[in-house]
Symmetry: C2
Subunit: 353 residues, 2 copies
């Protein structure tokens, strides 16, 4: 089965080989070396001097952690899809007051509206933004939005789950306080690991936070990071795979060239979809390079297209939430050679004919 | 390096092969099949009709989950080592009131003392017990203690992290409400997965719990379990490896024979240590079959013994906490063929001579 999923995605053979390695203790020198190399490489990739932590949980775990460490009372959540909604839900489930700023599905979060909202809500402590809204295949203008958040001097929490490793992300330059992602998206690693950069300001906020729990405590992460370690047992295979991934990026021309190859593949796929007469759901300004949300052609159901493609050996992603039947999605995150993109497009052409 | 660690432990080739498999979507039929087979097999192994959930976190994550779902105000923690202490710390970090019942290091929790404590603390909602206290190589008399807890009609939360898959554990017969473990201990799987049985009573308690968060919500786990799924992306490789492990137990004579082989190996190791003139730290009544906490011989330091054994290619475990220098530990949880046990004993004989 060729995977064009929203994650877990297809992994390169080198990654699978790293996953199958024999174990060692997470308190051994072998682990400490792996830990240090991975966080150093990742910090370089994210262009940050913040601490970069390795988490034994999915990306949503860091979403919860960011609320429990950085929001005492009130957070503003930017919502234009299911994962923006999830951020608000997680904050509420943790007893925090939530304000939201919403955009119509398929439209990006508006910087001016955010500016106005923050001017009217001085008691908001942090703002959450979904960089890449997987559910509708939309990428929000993060750099622009971040400027607004920083103008108001709020903590900026960024869900970069389906963006990190797939599109540009400059943590320090853009002023992101917590920036997290999962292993099973653009890095093309199996699920089970999340990573996050956590700024000094976020760590300061965490210091006096009451009832923040133990598992997700950023300050405990910071304490163990000094020993190239974690307070809970880390998912060693996924970390070894991420280290390998970052090494491969380095060997294959560095971050810039890597991201260019990614973008080229996305453009190639977008052109192919266009040739088939298919249209995309989000506005043209903000179509995600990591996942395309495609409108099902008139008279067709997105779920049927998904099923028919599966029968042909291609696993796409179903439409999400309210768009389940009206759309289908095509992930472009993992290990997908260009000729497989072409075969997929050719088969899809048959299905939507 | 031959691993006699406290976890992560050495894995069988079949397990590593399962870890290195290509990915598939966690919303696909392939995953649903894997999920259902794994939880059914695990429920059978634990002898329970409770729900068995698969968690994207380490065992300590379920420790935190058990507090957030099952304790509104007050918990009684049984403490006779570092992991009992951790349970109390986790409860406090989540803003719960904690009472403890303590035993001297190396002594088991006393059933009569627990009975008396519970008689005097009617407002305790749940009791936590560390089945196997890895830090001092001690196994608590869980079946006996469970009876006391159930007599007082309290929820019973059991940290079975270094016990499940290594010693007997009858969840329903003993009346355990939350019983959790990590993949990287007795099941001999890489870290990144935790599993837990959660009783109806625990789920009922969770139903009305305020501010329990989203990531660890047992009720959300229950909801997705009906779809053979999880609300957060699961660590698919570790689940595939656990499924393989349970299949191997079944093929190789079932649970009873498997546990007997484990116990035989432990006895063989204990005899060997005795022959070397080494003594164990815990009282004779309650020595753990999954990890031995060995007293460093007069005039020797446990850390030196650990280092010398590493130089010989054997990774033991360091002493833990206050026993760091006075003891060293030898794990007996993972994939360790009998001849490797013998080589280890022979080299250890040289080191402590």
């Amino acid at each position: 089965m060729h995977l064009f999923t929203a994650g877990p995605v297809s992994c390169r053979p080198e990654i699978l080989e790293a996953m199958g390695q024999q174990m060692f203790s997470h308190r051994s020198v072998e682990y400490k070396k792996l830990h240090r190399e991975t966080v150093d490489w990742l910090a370089k990739f994210l262009e940050t001097e913040s601490e970069v932590f390795l988490f034994t949980n999915s990306g949503s775990g860091v979403m919860e952690a960011s609320i429990r460490n950085c929001v005492e009372r009130k957070v503003l959540c930017c919502v234009n899809g299911s994962f923006g909604k999830r951020y608000a839900k997680v904050a509420e489930a943790n007893g925090r007051e939530v304000e939201t700023i919403n955009s119509e599905l398929g439209h990006p979060i508006d910087a001016d509206a955010l500016d106005e909202k923050l001017s009217n809500s001085p008691d908001v402590e942090a703002v959450s933004i979904t960089y890449n809204e997987t559910s509708v295949g939309l990428i929000n203008p993060l750099e622009k939005l971040a400027k607004v958040v920083k103008k108001h001097d709020k903590l900026l929490l960024v869900d970069a789950v389906s963006a990190m490793g797939g599109v540009e992300l400059k943590v320090d330059k853009w002023g992101i306080d917590v920036c997290f992602a999962s292993s099973q998206k653009c890095f093309g690693i199996p699920p089970g690991l999340a990573v996050a950069s956590v700024s000094k300001e976020a760590l300061e906020k965490s210091e006096n936070m009451r009832n923040k729990g133990w598992y997700f405590d950023f300050k405990t992460y910071e304490e163990f990071q000094k020993k190239d370690s974690t307070h809970v047992t880390p998912p060693i295979p996924q970390i070894a795979a991420l280290r390998k991934r970052l090494e491969l990026i380095d060997e294959e021309g560095g971050k810039k060239n890597y991201l260019k190859r990614r973008l080229d593949r996305s453009k190639h796929m977008a052109k192919g979809l266009d040739k088939l007469g298919l249209t995309l759901f989000p506005q043209e300004c903000c179509r995600s390079p990591t996942i395309s949300c495609v409108n099902a052609p008139e008279g067709m159901n997105g779920l049927d297209i998904y099923e028919k493609m599966r029968e042909k050996g291609f696993e796409l992603a179903k439409g999400y939430g309210s768009l389940k039947e009206k759309t289908f999605r095509i992930g472009c995150m993992g290990h997908i050679p260009m000729d497989v993109v072409d075969s997929m497009l050719s088969e899809l052409g048959e299905v939507v004919k």
